[in-house]
């Protein structure tokens, strides 16, 4: 099974030079640590920054400069600031090439649920609904099952929906999946995880690619 870092490392292989990328909170944020050397990726932070840099050095934090997770950050040469309306404007207009976010559930038609658990405290969708409704390409980083071992890759989401038919790819702790008209397509397995085990842990429609291979690190 993949660690959170390995999920991020595998997702980073989907990056291409010059991409504008929005990384969600949690595992997606870690993707920034695995950008291949020599490749330029411009990170969009939806509170109003393109060209997000690393955390500041101790003592250099600026309360006016944070990311969407409210963490102190820095800019890079070539960064730009803008307001929240323009930020979601560029998202809606499809200018952001890739969105990586977490999910509680994904359905085999690409529906995603990641903002609300009925009966628990509702914190809000933040920018998630805007992002999933418009992103050109969405990759979900998630745990394949819940703590009890139940599949989170489903025929239909049971939790309130964040967006319809929008997820294109999933990297879970068990493998890499595309989503197409036939459901989930297993492309790669995590080291030491069998195809049969993935079949057992996936409730939605699942096909296995002819050339399914093990992820190499």
């Amino acid at each position: 099974m993949l660690t959170k870092e390995q999920i991020a490392e595998r997702i980073a292989r989907e990056l291409k030079d010059g991409m504008y990328v929005n990384l969600g909170i949690g595992i997606p944020t870690l993707v920034a640590n695995y950008v291949p050397k020599g490749m330029t990726i411009i990170l969009q932070s939806e509170n109003g920054l393109l060209g997000m840099g690393p955390f500041p050095y101790e003592g250099e934090e600026d309360p006016d400069l944070i990311n969407a997770g409210k963490q102190t950050i820095t800019t890079l040469p070539g960064s730009s600031f803008f307001d929240s309306a323009m930020s979601f404007g560029m998202i809606r207009a499809g200018k952001v090439n890739l969105t990586v976010l977490g999910a509680m559930e994904v359905a085999d038609n690409g529906d995603i649920a990641n903002w609300k658990i009925p009966g628990k405290m509702v914190k809000g969708m933040g920018g998630a609904m805007d992002l999933v409704a418009s992103a050109q390409n969405i990759i979900v980083a998630m745990q394949h099952t819940d703590k009890a071992g139940n599949s989170k890759l489903l025929p239909k989401c049971s939790l309130p929906i964040t967006g319809l038919a929008c997820v294109r790819k999933i990297v879970s702790d068990l493998g890499v999946f595309d989503i197409n008209a036939q459901g989930f397509l297993l492309l790669e397995t995590a080291p030491g995880v069998s195809v049969d085990y993935i079949k057992e842990k996936t409730l939605g429609r699942l096909q296995i690619a002819d050339d399914v291979k093990e992820i190499q690190f």
Partner: protein
């Protein structure tokens, strides 16, 4: 023309109970600290607050929640606040959750004189309940209405006595949108300057949107998540 006020107390003297107030900021970044302190001191109640977040327990809008001044919160994300959760669960507080881009655009459209717009955010979700859906080029969109507020409280880095504003870094966020949407927009700035000092090319919010301006003081600028790296 009198736009300049001496303090938040003077600029907000006519805020009344049950009004709708917009407050700029993202988390605790770029929030109108002086304006919030004054609203707490005035003790106005029954407020509907439109703000991306609801502060933390002991800062930002959290201070107004502590004093039970907020009747309804319209936001995109309201985590990080235990008192908020308590009031919500006890039925004391109402909350309306709106996708973040929709929230920003609803404010902006008000300042652009456009009553409604279509967005794909929320199609197929509970956000779409009761809203008109229209299909453009094969994709469904929700109709969302522009909204305004009795008062919009925004925070800028620099401003001049004509009401022109410049924001700093990511403290800009919702402030320019909300500045456009206030029936009365009150801007607090770290530095209030004479006309002509700010480069007209660099103005983010033109003074026409700003009715009142004052120089704030004692900014605390609290940090929610202090993340740093060590010098190697």
């Amino acid at each position: 023309m009198k736009k300049v006020y001496l303090s938040a107390d003077e600029a907000l003297h006519d805020v009344k109970d049950n009004m709708t107030i917009m407050l700029g900021g993202f988390g605790l970044c770029g929030i109108p600290e002086n304006g919030i302190a004054t609203l707490v001191k005035m003790g106005v109640k029954g407020l509907t607050c439109i703000s991306n977040n609801a502060g933390v327990d002991d800062f930002g809008i959290g201070l107004m929640l502590q004093h039970h001044q907020v009747k309804k919160m319209i936001s995109s994300y309201v985590g990080e606040n235990a008192e908020f959760e308590r009031q919500l669960l006890s039925g004391e507080l109402e909350v309306e959750l709106i996708p973040q881009g929709t929230l920003a655009t609803r404010c902006m459209m008000s300042g652009y004189g456009i009553p409604a717009f279509y967005t794909p955010a929320g199609v197929g979700t509970e956000v779409a309940n009761g809203k008109e859906i229209r299909n453009f080029n094969g994709k469904d969109y929700l109709m969302e209405l522009a909204f305004d507020a009795d008062f919009a409280l925004v925070k800028a880095w620099k401003g001049d006595t004509m009401g022109n504003l410049i924001f700093k870094d990511t403290a800009r966020n919702f402030n320019p949108m909300m500045a456009m949407a206030g029936k009365i927009t009150v801007a607090e700035v770290e530095e209030l300057l004479e006309p002509g000092v700010l480069d007209a090319n660099q103005i983010h919010t033109p003074g026409i949107y700003v009715h009142r301006i004052f120089q704030g003081d004692q900014y605390k600028k609290k940090i929610e998540q202090r993340t740093v790296r060590k010098k190697s």
